[in-house]
Every structure is written in structure tokens, then in C-alpha cells.
């Protein structure tokens, strides 16, 4: 995104955010699996699949936009 200043792309920071949040949310979802919270549709275990989605997206963003990668 920045040729003049060689700033780490903002997408890398988005990836870091997703990765950390994904781990936290997935972990929380697995921990509460036997006793889901008292929310509507808790039986769907949304934290597990939403957390997994965040981890995948975060991993992809961090890999593609990591600092020091060669830009085309």
C-alpha cells in the first residue's frame, strides 16, 4: 500500500486481529461446549465455527501481507 514509506500493510494488522480473536473465541467456544450459555441458538455453538473462520482469515492475511514480503 505504501511505496514511499514501506509501511507494513494495514491488512497485516487486520490479520493479527483476526488471528488473536479467533484463538480466543474458538477456545472459549470449545470450553463452553458441554454447557453452552443461556442465549438463543446456543446449541449451534457459533463461537466454535466463527472463531475457526477468524483464525483461517487471520492466517491468510498474516501470511500474504507479512512484513518484508516482496511486492510484485
Amino acid at each position: 500500500m505504501s511505496e514511499k514509506h514501506h509501511i507494513t500493510p494495514v491488512w497485516f494488522f487486520v490479520g493479527v486481529l483476526f488471528l488473536v480473536y479467533g484463538v480466543l473465541i474458538l477456545g472459549s467456544g470449545l470450553a463452553e461446549w458441554p454447557h453452552p450459555p443461556n442465549t438463543v441458538l446456543s446449541e449451534l455453538h457459533a463461537p466454535v465455527w466463527w472463531g475457526a473462520l477468524l483464525i483461517i482469515l487471520g492466517g491468510v492475511y498474516c501470511t500474504i501481507f507479512r512484513p518484508g514480503r516482496k511486492e510484485n
Binding site: M1, S2, H5, V10, F13, L24, P36, N38, V40
Partner: protein, 576 residues
């Protein structure tokens, strides 16, 4: 819902688990870290105030949409969707998309080619200091007031939803924003707006997903709404706009088309400095044209996380929400529909993500307004009127100090809003006073070389005065007039005494813009125009248009602009 009522009795809507707190704390740590990282790159005035003009079309486009997608907006429009139904989506579709495309394809070439740093900067080049000074003063006041209002609104939401102390919320958020914006300038503000954009989407998207699963899809939701609210139409966008009485908003289609689409949205999306500044940070003219077009696609999708939760609230919430100023003990206001839906579906982890998204939205709103204030003050008031020739580093220092002072003033505004709740309504109204006439002034200046300097100033002033006058008349607050007469004024200017607040705003914008244009034309007729030699790059007929022969169709902003408008048309048909 029993659990929610119990928490409300204890002074909060939800309780954060340790994982939720970890999510919130990590966000604060990340934005501060980004601010400190970017400080080394914000060395010159262009770096600090315009992010070095290096942003790609995607980053500028996302920041452009995100600058408008604050939490005040999220909560407010979800509440409006609960109150008015899918009609609220007009403010995201016909009330935004055409204006964004117009900005990208027609107006950005002028803003970008003349190398201005702001909308008042363009006005100075086109009309001179008097007009830009008037615009800059009003922008500066509005942005700093909006920053304070954002701050207070966030503190109130955190108090209602989480039970956090108001002072704690105000000071923690303001100190964080002050640090990262003073450090990295517009770089920081834009980076955090992009983060906020993704956070809001991933924090709020589960609500419509789970909500539609619960209701059995769109038709199931509509059936439930009709069962809960018999005789009211919440799910048609145009079919019930033939008469003011046929829809919950008291709106006629002329207000949507002429007041909202042609004036109010055009005024906001093409002249509001906060959003235009993001596009001005683009790295080249092609990116500057493409950024608003890219933004338009994301803007079109926002009703999924804002309007749909409001509609789902109508379908699934066991209680009826009430107007925000009529909330009694045990009741919830319209603006609480989004937190209520969050609490309904989201347990530990997801709740923290949703709350952090709201906090991020508020803070990005504050940061955007504070960075806009710093730019307008430094470049449009301090440099032209107070200290004309100083080294670039002097203006960068002024920008950093101005950021800190701006946050300090915002804290004062936040506490003022705490004691005078109606300030928030007036700040929103204040915003509306200037935007519609400003659009008339800017558009005439860009399209008609005959418009003189004096005409620009007097047209803008006349439009603003007429906007204030209409507001006072329709609110029943005009001095020396009987407040009971407001119904008559609403019937006259908003075409029906049944027109509600949003409908009145539309017609206020329409008439103030018309006033601006008429006065500008009349004054133009009796004053001398500027010579053509002074207007190159500022007026359409005197600006060389960039050729795009070597650009493939798929890379042209115009192509994607047309695609965006076709998608818009398709959505209007689906939800007719």
C-alpha cells in the same frame, strides 16, 4: 430475556466474561501499538494530514466508508430500522450510492487535480478566503462537537450495556484516541478505520445470520413482524411512499428522491470533509476516482448488519421498544435494539467481539473527527489567516498539538452533552445546516465558470441561514412565533403535517440547497466572474480530462460505477 431484565435491574444489559475483557483490552493495545509504529512515518505535513497521499484505492475506499460507519450510526440506524422498518435502508442505498459514484467520477478529479487538502481548501482556490473561512469555521466547530458527542454516546452505551462508569469510558477512550492520532496523524486514523470496518462486520454479522435462522428466513421474519405489529408495513421500500400516511415515517417519495438522494446525500458524501479527506489521501487520480466506487459496494451491504437486525428485533424481541426519550423503568429505547440482539445471540467471546466492534466504531468516529479538525484548523484557518509562511514542521507540530487540544475540547463537549441531552439532537441538526447549501456552492463552482467570488459567499450564507430558519420554524422554536404553529410550517415546507423528523430533515435540506443555488445565480448575474486563467483545474470546462486509453475497462472507475448503480437498481426492485 429474564436474565436481561435481571441485569438491567443491576444497571447493565450484559456481563463481560474474562475472554470478552481480553478481546477489548487487546484492541486498545493494538491501536496504541499501531499509532506508535506509524509515528515514524508521519514526518511532513502531507504525511500527517493526508497520509502522504499514498493510500491505495482499496484502503482509501474502506476508510471512506468506515469514516461514516461509526457506532452512533450503527445504533441509531438499527433503532431507526426498528422504528420505521426497511425504509431506513434508503439512507444506505439511494441516499448514498449515487452520491458516492458522483463524487468518484465527477468531483474527485477536481479535488485531486487542484491538489487541495480539504473541501475548504477547494473553496479558497475557487471563491477566495471569505467563503473558505466561513466553511472552515463551521467544519471545525462541527467536527469537534461530533467528536464530543461520539465520546458521550459511547460512554452512555457502555454504561447501559456494561454498567461502566461514564467518566471511566470518556477518559480511557479519549486518551487512547489522543495518543494514536497525535502520533500517526491521518495514517493512524485510516489504519484504525480499516480495522474498525472489519471488526464491525465480524462483530455484528452473526446477528442477522442467527436471526434469520431463528425466524426461518426472510419470509418467516416478515410473517412474525406482521403478527407482532398488525396493520403496519415495515418491509416495503417504495410501495408505501405514495402518501405520507401509508408508511411509519410519514414520508412521501419526493422527499426520498429530491430531498435525500439529490440534496442531502449529495451534500454529505461530496463535501463532508471527514469522508472526502480519506479519498484525498489516495496515491493517484485513478485510485481517488475508484475509492468511492469501491466504498459504494460495501456501503450497499451495510444494511445487512444495521437494518436487518432492527427488522429482526421487530420479529423476535418479546417486548416492544419505545422512543428513546420516553423510556420508563423496565423499558428499552429504539437505540438499544442492537445491544439487545447482541445479548440475545452472543455468549462469551462473541459478545466481547460485538462490544469491541461498538467501542471501535465510537473511537474511530472520534479519531476521524479529531484528525479532520486538526487539518481544517491548521491548513484552512491557522495557515491562511494567522501564520502564512512557516516551515512545514511548524504546521506538523501545530497538527499534533491541535489533536490534543481537540480531544480536550471534545471531553468538554461530552460533559456538556451529559447535562444537556438535547445537545446531541442539536449537533446533528447543526451538521445538516451547512452540508446541503455547501453542496450547492461546491457543485455550482465546479460546473459553472461564471459564478463569482461574491456569489459563492452569499449563496452559502443564504443557504445556511435558510436552513437554520426552516429548522427553527418546523421545531416550533422560532423567536416570537407561537410554537403551536409548527404544524403549519411542517405542512408547508415538508408538504404534509404528518411528516416525521427524518422527513422534515429531507425537505429542510432540499429548500436550503435551492435557496443557496438561487441566491448564487442572482448574485452571479450582477457581479464580475473571475478570468478563465485563474480557474484552470477548478471548473469542469477549464480542466483537462485524464485519458484512460491504456486502462482496461475492468480497471476503470466508470465501469464499476455503472455496475454499482445496476446493483442498487436491482435491490430497489427486490425490496419494492
Amino acid at each position: 430475556m429474564t436474565a436481561i431484565l435481571g441485569m438491567l435491574a443491576a444497571g447493565r444489559l450484559v456481563r463481560l466474561a474474562p475472554v470478552d475483557l481480553a478481546i477489548v483490552v487487546f484492541y486498545f493495545a493494538l491501536v496504541l501499538g499501531i499509532g506508535f509504529y506509524l509515528k515514524r512515518f508521519a514526518r511532513t505535513g502531507e504525511d500527517f494530514f493526508l497520509a502522504g497521499r499514498e493510500m491505495t484505492a482499496w484502503v482509501a475506499g474502506l476508510a471512506f466508508v468506515s469514516a461514516n460507519l461509526g457506532s452512533l450510526e450503527l445504533l441509531g440506524w438499527a433503532g431507526s430500522a426498528y422504528q420505521y422498518g426497511i425504509l431506513a435502508a434508503h439512507w444506505y442505498w439511494i441516499g448514498a450510492i449515487p452520491a458516492m459514484i458522483f463524487l468518484g467520477l465527477v468531483m474527485m478529479p477536481f479535488y485531486y487535480i487542484c491538489k487541495t487538502h480539504s473541501v475548504p481548501g477547494y473553496l479558497q482556490l475557487r471563491y477566495g478566503k471569505a467563503t473558505s473561512g466561513l466553511s472552515a469555521v463551521t467544519f471545525a466547530i462541527m467536527t469537534i462537537l461530533m467528536s464530543g458527542v461520539n465520546m458521550y454516546a459511547m460512554a452512555v452505551v457502555m454504561k447501559v450495556v456494561l454498567g461502566w462508569d461514564l467518566n471511566f469510558s470518556i477518559f480511557v477512550s479519549s486518551i487512547t484516541v489522543a495518543i494514536y492520532v497525535a502520533a500517526g496523524g491521518l495514517f493512524s486514523a485510516i489504519f484504525n478505520e480499516v480495522l474498525q470496518f472489519f471488526l464491525i462486520w465480524f462483530g455484528a454479522l452473526l446477528i442477522p445470520i442467527l436471526g434469520l435462522i431463528e425466524t426461518g428466513g426472510w419470509h418467516g421474519m416478515v410473517a412474525r413482524i406482521q403478527h407482532n405489529f398488525p396493520g403496519q408495513d415495515f418491509t416495503h421500500m417504495w410501495g408505501n411512499l405514495g402518501h405520507f400516511k401509508d408508511n411509519p415515517m410519514g414520508m412521501h417519495w419526493t422527499g426520498i428522491v429530491f430531498g435525500l438522494a439529490m440534496v442531502q446525500s449529495m451534500g454529505y458524501w461530496t463535501t463532508d470533509f471527514l469522508v472526502v479527506q480519506r479519498v484525498l489521501s489516495a496515491k493517484d487520480i485513478r485510485s481517488a476516482k475508484l475509492a468511492p466506487v469501491i466504498g459504494s459496494f460495501f456501503k450497499m451491504a451495510v444494511p445487512l448488519i444495521v437494518i436487518l437486525p432492527g427488522l429482526l428485533g421487530l420479529a423476535v424481541l418479546p417486548m416492544h421498544l419505545v422512543p428513546n426519550n420516553e423510556v420508563q423503568a423496565g423499558q428499552f429505547g429504539y437505540n438499544e435494539v442492537l445491544p439487545l440482539m447482541l445479548a440475545r445471540y452472543c455468549g462469551p467471546g462473541l459478545l466481547g467481539l460485538g462490544i469491541t466492534a461498538l467501542v471501535a466504531g465510537f473511537m474511530a468516529g472520534m479519531a476521524g473527527n479529531v484528525s479532520a479538525f486538526a487539518t481544517v484548523w491548521t491548513y484552512d484557518l491557522y495557515r491562511p489567516f494567522i501564520r502564512k509562511s512557516a516551515p512545514d514542521q511548524h504546521y506538523v507540530s501545530m497538527g499534533r498539538w491541535c489533536t490534543l487540544i481537540g480531544v480536550f475540547i471534545s471531553i468538554g463537549t461530552a460533559y456538556a452533552a451529559k447535562h444537556f441531552a438535547s445537545i446531541m439532537d442539536y449537533v446533528q441538526a447543526l451538521f445538516g445546516f451547512f452540508i446541503a447549501p455547501l453542496f450547492g456552492t461546491v457543485l455550482l463552482g465546479m460546473m459553472w465558470k461564471r459564478v463569482s467570488k461574491a456569489a459563492g459567499f452569499w449563496g452559502l450564507l443564504a443557504g445556511t441561514v435558510s436552513s437554520v430558519t426552516l429548522f427553527l420554524l418546523m421545531q416550533g422554536k422560532f423567536p416570537f412565533l407561537n410554537p403551536e404553529s409548527r404544524g403549519r410550517w411542517i405542512g408547508l415546507f415538508a408538504l404534509s403535517p404528518h411528516a416525521q423528523g427524518l422527513a422534515q430533515d429531507m425537505y429542510q435540506s432540499l429548500w436550503s440547497c435551492v435557496t443557496c443555488v438561487v441566491v448564487t445565480v442572482l448574485v452571479t448575474m450582477v457581479t464580475e466572474p473571475r478570468p478563465d486563467s485563474e480557474l484552470h483545474g477548478l471548473v469542469y470546462s477549464l480542466t483537462e480530462k485524464a485519458k484512460e486509453e491504456h486502462t482496461s475497462v475492468l480497471h476503470r472507475a466508470a465501469f464499476w460505477g455503472v455496475v454499482s448503480l445496476l446493483v442498487l437498481a436491482f435491490l430497489q426492485i427486490i425490496f419494492w
